[in-house]
Every structure is written in structure tokens, then in C-alpha cells.
Amino acid sequence: PVWAAGEMVLPSLVYRTGAYAPNGVPFANGVSDYIALVNAKGGINGVKIKLVECETGYKTDVGVECYEKLKGEGATGAAVFNPLSTGITYQLIEKTWVDKVPVHSMGYGRTAAADGRVFKWTFNFPTTYWSQASAVIKYIGDQEGGMGNLKGKKIAHVFHNSPYGKEANPTLEILADKFGYELIMLPVDHPGQEQKATWLQIRRKKPDWVFMSGWGVMNQVAIKEAAAVNYPMDHFIGNWWSSTESDVLPAGDAAKGYKGANFHGAGADWALHGDILATLYGGDKAKAGGKNFGEVLYNRGIVNAVFSTEAIRTAMGKFGDKPLTGEQVRWGLENLDLTAARLKALGLEDFTNPVKVTCEDHETMGPVRIQQWDGGKWVYVSDWIKPMRNVVRPLVERAAAAYAQEKGITPRKCDGSD
């Protein structure tokens, strides 16, 4: 293809087909709308972003194919990959350090990549599953009237029986030791359309809280089953891939009261949304609605796109206002400092928390907020909750060190020498 001068390529691996399309579609729409808006306003410092979608169907091998196809696309190559799948992220982590393209797995992927000394090319800010788990426990403690009251309580973890679903387990276990709650592990096999056994066990063991790391159809079924065994919905908390519109809508009224973690806002009440609605949809709300406008995952797509474009903008500060290479964008990611003021300028005040990435910390351990489904929309029921860094960070560093050893990687010093 011929590339217009002054254009740079942002690849977008999406899954608008397959079992997880209900999640993939809103996300992809959020990304593409935001980029369209940026372009409509003249691009980033005059550089237009060419968003190239590649359909993965959430399949790892297709994701790799997309990566290989897009990594060299455009005059300067791909800016940054957002694999949108833990499986694909794992594949790309290694490839990218050879190809010198950064990967940003926002709130998924390999948690250990938070250690930027080992994972130079991989970023997973603003937060990870481990951080999230600690924040959710904090929330529960809060609800119980203080962390001390967790002692003797029962917390069940219903999780997708895959590396993704199991991510939170070590953190939850450590915290169980620390706070003295009883942890009940309930794995659910993919795809999770049948969870009778799981919910029978919940009915029997009567946990005080249920935390869920689910994915796809598993969430919808879990919510229905929870209602069917009369589990109190407001004690049932999903992680941020388990608390979206697609998860609660099929359950209808049963889902009322269900909670979920999130690291950004839900709804369309931000200035940016108004901007998008006006610029891209000519104010036609119905048309925008068809594109999942304002849904949780749509908003997550926006956050993701904001991070990418802001990182590019940061990099331009150093390398000049022109299309940048992946290597340059990596620098932008590592030096990203998205302040509250900048967010406000973007029309996203308090939409997500400020982020400051460093060489050591590619995660930033951003705070998490709990939202609740009121039957028609998500509403916040907590303030921003800071994860327990003292618990999580050592885990991260240990895992990263083990990885480095296995792969024979010498960690960076982060003193500016590399």
C-alpha cells in the first residue's frame, strides 16, 4: 500500500468474530472512534494516525499472523501493539524485543511484565490482575468494616480455568494468609456454559463474598446461576473483564446489584464523549449506540487509545513531530506522564487515574474502582482504591527474575545507561 506522508500506523488487533466478539466489538469501536476523533482534529501534532485493524477472532495463531503482517506496516513500522488477548500477548513479548516494537497489554497479559527492567518492550499499565485482586480484597475489607474483620470470613474465587483466570490466585492466597479469610477456589472450565456444580458448592459453602475472574459466556451464566441459588448480588464482584454490559444484560433483572472492578469510567457523560458524538455521529445518539457508545468496553477502548496516542505525543516531544518508529514510541510509553490536567484537557476528567510510567515500573499500579449494575447502567459505589503495593510488587519482581533467568536476560539497571 501507499502511505500518505506524515502518517503513522497504529495496528489494532481486534476480535469482532468468534466466541468473544461481544467483548471485542465494543472495545474495537472505542479505539477506532477515538482515533477517528484524533484524526478529525488534525492528528497528533499534525501526524495522522492510520489505524489498521486485523481480525484475530481471539485466536493466538491468527494474532501472531496479524503481528507479522503489521509490524512493518507504514513508513516507520507499527507504533505499538495492543494484542487484546493474553495468549497473543505472550507470543508477542518475545518477538517484539527482536523486532523493536513495544507491546502494551492494558490490564491483561503477563503480570510480571510490570517489571520494566526485565521486560523492556512490554507495558501493562495502568494496573494488573494482581493489583486488582488486592484492591478488591481491600474493598471487601472496607465493606466488612475494616480489614481486621476479614478474619474468619469466606471468600470464593470463581475463575476461568486458564492462565488468565488463575492470575489472581497467588495474590488472593497471600492475602488470605495475611488477613485470615478462608479462600474457596472454584475453577470453571472453558467455555463455562454449565456451572451447576460451581453454584451448588457456593450454595453449600455460603461464602460471604464471591469474586469472579470470568470471561465471555461464563460471566452471563454465572450471574444467572447466582440469582438462581439466591446468592446476594451485591456480594458478588467481577473483575474488569467480568463486569461489562454483555455480562449483565442477558441476565436481565437477575443481574441487578452485581458489582465489578474497573479502572476507568462507565457511561457517556464525559466531555470527550460529547465531542465524539458531535464530531463522528453528528449528534445521532441512536447511531452511536449501535457502536456501543459509552459501554464499559467501549470506554476501555478509548482509554487504550488515549494511552497509545499520548505515548506517541510524549515521544514526539523527544523525537520531533513526524511519524515515529516503534522504538521511539517505546520511549514515549516508558516516559508517559498522563497527569490529571492532561486528562481534563482531553475531556476525560476523573475518567481514569493519572499514570506515570517509569523504567522499573511498567504497570504503575493504578487504583481500581468498584461499580455496580443498577439494572440499566453501571454506577460507582466506591472511590478509587489503591492496590497493596507492598504485597504485589515483590511477587512481580520475583516472577520477573525467574523469567529473566530462564531466558538468560540481564535486567536493565534503569539508570539511564540502557
Binding site: E53, V64, G87, E94, P170, H190, L395, G408
Partner: protein, 357 residues
Amino acid sequence: MLYREAGQFKSSYGADQAVFPIAQDRWFIAAAAVFAFVVVPLIADDYWLQAILIPLLVYALAALGLNVLTGYAGQLSLGTGGFMAVGAYMSYKITTAFPELNIIVVFLFSGLFSAAVGIVFGLPSLRIKGFYLAVATLAAQFFLIWLFNKVGWFYNYNPSGTIDAPPRAMLGVLITGAEAQPEVKYLTALSLLSVFALLTKNLVRSSVGRAWMAIRDMDIAAEIIGIRPLRTKLLAFAISSFICGVAGAELFALHFGSVETLAFDINLSFLILFMVIIGGLGSILGSILGAAFMVLMPIALTNLFVGGLGMQAVTAKHTEFMVFGGLIIFFLIVEPHGLARLWQIAKEKLRLWPFPY
């Protein structure tokens, strides 16, 4: 009238039993080998190697393995993904436990583990047949995946639950790991495929292969002429899972570099089975053609729809599904016995050319 066997007389049974008895075929194969081993690495770019050719070769190897079991021995199996997982996880275990061991040897050892597992799950085949067996082999698929997911030992207890291929070199050339050259990975996969294809071809044209086919075509009669069904079937399971195990190890170490059990889920089993059927049951060439079809066709369609016709990625994908499904049915109708048979008919026509028959 270039493709003729006239004038090529075979003076010994040995010559008659050669893999390619016709000279033109031999020339063609030699040319293809030169092309694959020499020309391709020179001209193919990263995308072709990493995204298309390496997976193609790996899948072709797996398809070859399954073809031994299903195409030759007639035992329908949906456990391929599980057996490949055994290969992958065992190669990880072996190479992390013995970092000095040559990676090719590691592959072969992982194959042995896979073969052992294959034998265990092949036991029910004595009594269970056809689609019943196919569904029963799903027990292997689900159990193995569950096991590798569950037992931390298999992934060295690392918290992410995935396994990563460490860099390993042979004769000073890196073969696995991110830094290994795609060309090297490609040649490794190609060599392994060629060797296994040749060995398998030899097997299926000797008495073991005939015993398999006998069991496949009519197991009772086979038993009556003296073939021991269980032993023959188990040998097929063992060899098939051996090859699949090696393919699994390759998929992990050469292609992906990092996998979780999801990579070996039931869809992989189905995919390999489709390759075998589309390519041609009971045909070595078919395994390769089938793999090529299943790997290349979707990519070609996507590139056609997105690149060529400028469709949206989603619409393209949906259309691709429909066209791909339609193509499968179309090819089956044109030739139920697969692409390999189609190729053979083409050759036969060529032989008769310019006469229609």
C-alpha cells in the same frame, strides 16, 4: 505429452517399489526440494516465514501424525491437541531440566512421552470404533489439557501458568527463542517434516502400514488373516502420537515460543483433523496439502477481501467464513478423497493428455 511413463521399464521389484517410480516425478520432487530448502529461505520475508510457512510445516507434521492414525489405521481421533500438548510440555520440562541437551533430541524425547500417552489412550480402541472412538479420544484431549493446566510441575510452577521456550542452539546456531533467525526455524521445521514424511512413507509401504490399512478397511478380516488388532492399533497410536508430540514441541518451541494450554485446546484437534480429511486420508502428500489449505486459504481470503476488495476487517471475516465453508464443501463434492486424490487425477489426466480418457 510430457508426462509419460512409457519407455520407463522397471527391471526389478525394488525399482517398482520406489516412492516415485516415474522419472518426471523424481525431477519434480528434486526441484521442489531445492526450492523449499534453498530458494524459499532466500526470498521469503519474515511474514511469510513466521506467520505462514513455519506454522504450515508444523501443522503438516501434526497432520502427518494424525494421518497415520486416522488415514492409515482408520482410528478416528480427536485427541491430537492433547498429544501435541504432551510434546510441548515435555519438551519444556526436558529442556529446562537438561539445558545442554540438543534441542532436536529434546523434540524426539518429547515425542516418546507423547507416544506413551498415546498408547494409554489408545487402549479403548480395541473395543470402541468409529465416531464412538473419536468422541472417546476427547477424554484424552480434555484430561491432558486439564492436567497441564492444573499441575504446576509441568510449567515449573511459574505464576503465569505458561511455558516459554528458552533459547537453544545447535552447532552454534540458535534454533529456538526469540533471537533465532526465522530462516533457521523454517529449515528446522522443514527438515523434520521431510524426515518424518519419508520415514512414514516407508512405514506405510511396508508390512506395518499394510497391517494398519487392513485394520482400517476391515478389522475382522484383518484379524482373521493373522493381524493382532490391539498391537497394530496401539502401534499406530504410538507412532501417530510420537509424530504429533514432536509437532507439538515444534509448535511450542519453534512457532509460538510461549504457550498456555489454550493453544492445544480442542480446536487444534479439530483443525488437524480437517487438514487430514481435506488433504486426503491415507496420503502423505495429503497431510501437507491439507495443512496448506487450512493455513493458506483463510489468509488468502482475508488478504483478498481486505487488501484486494477493501472490505472492513469484520465483514471480510464473516465473508471469509462463508466462503471458506463453501470451499470445503465444494472440494469435497469435487473430490471426496481429498486434495491428494485430486492431484493424482490431475496427473492421470496429464498422462492421457491430449485425450480425454
